[in-house]
Symmetry: C2
Subunit: 127 residues, 2 copies
């Protein structure tokens, strides 16, 4: 996220959906290093990692995603092989454009009143 | 943990080390369900899950562990095939008996002043 409350999102090259930037950790990589690397690779934005805001388990695929709120430290956005669009979205735009299981990760990350959310989903809907 | 501040620990059958109860999630299992199942299987104790207190990445093996603080809801401890001893330890006993990478999970979980810790280790020591 940046100062004005907009959040960074990509439209994926492989399936055309809007998502927060992210990806898979390297085996020997510290978690925050992986967060910074993935955001930079997909968007060109350098970020500082603020805090863990949620844990999301896909029970169809057995995958657990960790979501961190980050602050942007640079301005210039660029595309990559993985991202055909990169945009700073308002929370309302996040709700419109992202599938439920991705929008909730952003909306959880914007909350200040709670610890990290722990949620279960089936790849399409929260359970 | 229980009311008096002691924490539940097991001594593992396979390698003799003291650890907090835990294990591997089933593919289709919600995270908190897996926490309750593993604690019950290894110790006979029923728990309610309070909150996520830490995330620990082993960069030697590429494994991420999630740690939750739980409250005990039953009293009777029993052993299992996986646990040759089960005990309620004081924080000082945790520091004495557990390897650094396990003791830190318990000590992080006992803190009330912070959000979840995100730490990296090599299987033996924190990095």
């Amino acid at each position: 996220m940046r100062e004005d409350g907009r959040v960074l999102a990509i439209r994926r090259a492989d399936n055309g959906t809007w998502e927060p930037p992210g990806g898979v950790l390297e085996l020997d990589e510290a978690i925050e290093d992986g967060v910074r690397r993935e955001v930079y690779e997909e968007t060109g934005i350098k970020v500082s990692v603020e805090r863990l805001t949620g844990v999301y388990k896909n029970v169809s695929r057995g995958i657990v995603a960790l979501v961190f709120r980050c602050r942007s430290e640079s301005e210039v956005v660029r595309l990559s092989e993985e991202s055909v669009e990169v945009a700073w979205l308002t929370p309302a735009e996040v709700s419109e454009r992202m599938a439920e299981v991705y929008a909730v990760r952003v909306l959880d990350a914007l909350r200040d009143d709670t610890g990290p959310s722990v949620r279960t989903h089936d790849g399409r809907h929260l359970l």
